[in-house]
């Protein structure tokens, strides 16, 4: 008798996944296979693979995807370099009673909207922004240095957006690190670097792998940062897709097809990264 309520409550999330995840994907797949969508009034829909072919033959679409992949790779690398020391500090150097508060402080900026945080970066990096004002006040420059609307600004924005995806898996992995292993390594004469390379890093490789995959996938589809901080020369695949949906000349099939191409590219990269993870997991301290 008691199974029914459980099934009902399981049905809610399943319905949510079907309605909010699978449903839109099916709708997008259908739209991507139309020649035009929505078509002219009264005209029957015609099926076509033209939207997918446009990716290969259209202007700069492949370059835009490659740019997004490169940006996601750079974001993942920078996020790892920034998040690992932070997670290490909180998990291993802060007293257990204070860890919660420290972690809360790190997470606090993410309570605000992504768009608001991007506008904060605009205020910081604009020619008349706080950073340029500081540089001029310090006498380091007489004219403003263009910091916004380039690859650097977009990278900073995307890292800011997705850092949490790296930080939390790393913190979880470091928090579970048995302290007696580090003490044993120390007793056996291993120095700080040796302990890190031969004990800490291998034992937290799963956290690195999950953080890397999550961060890479999240940064591949980020829209707000490139849209608000990017310049004329920094189109990403996500902004290209949004442009296609926003075009007045019926480019929805292309937008939908490109969405699938991004999904496939992201899945391929995630599978590739996951394939590397078991090797990392098998590594044991020597």
């Amino acid at each position: 008798v008691r199974r029914w309520p459980r099934l009902i409550f399981l049905a809610v999330p399943l319905l949510w996944v079907a309605a909010a995840h699978v449903g839109p994907l099916i709708a997008m797949a259908r739209i991507s296979a139309f020649a035009t969508y929505p078509g002219p009034p009264g005209a029957a829909a015609t099926w076509s693979a033209a939207a997918y072919a446009a990716f290969l033959h259209g202007p700069g679409y492949r370059a835009s995807l490659l740019h997004s992949l490169a940006l996601a790779t750079a974001t993942t690398a920078v996020s790892l370099l920034l998040a690992y020391p932070l997670a290490y500090h909180v998990a291993l150097r802060v007293a257990p009673a204070r860890r919660g508060r420290r972690l809360m402080l790190l997470v606090a900026p993410f309570w605000t909207s992504e768009v608001l945080r991007m506008f904060a970066i605009v205020l910081l990096l604009a020619n008349r922004g706080a950073l340029n004002a500081l540089l001029r006040w310090a006498g380091l420059t007489r004219s403003p240095i263009p910091l916004l609307y380039g690859t650097g600004a977009v990278l900073a924005g995307v890292v800011y957006t997705v850092l949490l995806s790296m930080l939390l898996p790393l913190y979880a992995a470091l928090d579970q690190l048995p302290p007696d292993l580090l003490e044993a390594a120390s007793d056996l004469g291993a120095g700080a670097w040796s302990r890190f390379w031969r004990v800490t890093l291998p034992l937290t490789a799963r956290g690195v792998a999950s953080g890397t995959i999550l961060t890479f996938l999240a940064s591949l589809g980020v829209f707000a940062a490139p849209a608000l901080l990017g310049g004329a020369g920094t189109p990403t695949f996500a902004t290209t897709i949004v442009d296609l949906f926003g075009a007045a000349s019926g480019r929805w099939p292309m937008g939908a097809a490109f969405g699938f191409i991004l999904l496939l590219a992201g899945t391929a990269c995630a599978v590739g990264l996951a394939a590397l993870a078991p090797g990392l997991r098998r590594t044991r301290p020597t």
Binding site: P5, I8, S64, G231, G233, S249
Partner: protein, 383 residues
């Protein structure tokens, strides 16, 4: 909160909602909770429908708030305004809703009229239902660009022209040509809306941005667009960022990241009136003007209210000045300019000596231009 079980008998104590309840009871409770949650929405929708509703898709400021309140109280009709940022997303939305329109009045820019007509979004305007139609300047009310097969398609509201905006302290001498946008002195300090600046670049190159002269020779039109596109791609390093909306332009100009811009948005007027060091000029090569109209949507659910609203807009004294201030453009009414200060007229209007250089988008040329321009915009973005 405690919920009485279905089989609760008088005298028994009510039990809290429990996961151990029978499946039938859980299902019924879920249905009751669902009904309770959705009831307010249904009731609100019915109540609004009974009182009279008008749905308007408009740009920010195109329905002045005071006029809206006045109309709502006089007509007993609730005016719901859905904001549109530009023509492309508005058209996309309306096309998606085409079979079951939710909007009664939409905003159509003259240069995109054919897409609204070809997609079956708007219907010809019945001007006989507008008692105050004659209050529109005949330059706009009788214009060819607003007619399809002889039928007038929309109520002309406001007029915007592409202008060259410059920061007076950093751009010297004051520019008088679209060519200033390609001056290496302003590398990475220029911004524009690609679609509109393509037309300005065509003017700079002596081509016809109305496309009327290319109607018999589409290949020449393609060559003209391609040449303008190539010029933009070659000089892409001039551009700090492309913008789509006025708010983005305002951010670029006030942040000091751009000092030269092309726009037909109302942003320059706003900055000039705020006392910031910006000026606007109609370049010597000329400029394209765009008239924003309010059109009635095909199958509009509240067509009568739509006509009452449009007529009230034309009839309301002083609306022209209010509309100019809220939308940021001069109106197409005969009384355009009335009630505005000289400073406001200078900030919003086009100087008399520049009027002759203004050209309007032609409906006839739009079918030819749209596909070419949209393709070129993508290529400039990606190039």
């Amino acid at each position: 909160m405690r919920i009485e079980p279905e089989d609760h008998t008088p005298g028994e104590t009510a039990v809290p909602l429990s996961l151990d309840a029978s499946p039938r009871l859980v299902t019924r409770r879920a249905a009751l909770v669902g009904a309770a949650l959705t009831a307010p929405c249904i009731l609100r929708a019915r109540s609004a429908s009974a009182a009279g509703v008008l749905n308007v898709t408009a740009y920010d400021g195109f329905v002045p708030p005071d006029f809206r309140k006045q109309f709502e109280s006089a007509a007993g009709t609730e005016v719901r305004v859905r904001l549109a940022a530009s023509q492309a997303p508005e058209l996309t939305l309306l096309v998606a809703e085409r079979d079951h329109p939710l909007t009664d009045i939409c905003t159509v820019v003259g240069s995109r009229l054919h897409q609204f007509v070809d997609n079956g979004i708007i219907e010809p305007l019945d001007t006989s239902r507008l008692n105050n139609w004659s209050r529109i300047n005949p330059l706009y009310s009788e214009a060819d660009w607003n007619r399809v097969n002889g039928a007038i398609m929309g109520v002309p509201l406001v007029v915007g022209a592409d202008v060259l905006v410059y920061q007076t302290q950093e751009v010297t001498p004051p520019p008088d040509s679209w060519g200033a946008m390609f001056d290496p002195k302003y590398k990475r300090r220029v911004t524009y809306d690609i679609e509109d600046f393509l037309l300005c670049t065509m003017l700079l190159r002596g081509a016809d941005p109305t496309f009327v002269s290319y109607l018999a020779n589409p290949a020449a039109a393609a060559r003209a667009v391609d040449a303008a596109r190539d010029l933009l791609i070659r000089h892409k390093s001039q551009v700090v960022r492309f913008f789509d909306e006025g708010s983005e332009l305002e951010q670029l100009l006030t942040g000091g990241d751009a000092v030269l811009a092309q726009t037909y948005a109302s942003t320059p007027a706003k900055l000039i009136l705020a006392g910031l060091p910006f000026r606007r000029v109609i370049p010597k090569e000329g400029s394209m003007a765009f008239v924003y109209t309010f059109a009635v949507v095909q199958g509009a659910p509240h067509r009568d209210a739509a006509y009452r609203f449009l007529d009230a807009m034309l009839a309301t004294p002083g609306l022209s000045a209010a509309l100019t201030r809220s939308a940021g453009y001069m109106t197409s009414f005969k009384e355009s300019g009335a009630g505005l200060t000289e400073v406001e007229k200078a900030a919003y209007g086009v100087p008399d000596d520049a009027l002759g250089r203004i050209r309007f988008a032609s409906y006839q040329g739009q079918a030819l231009s749209s596909a070419l321009i949209d393709r070129a915009v993508e290529q400039v973005k990606a190039g």
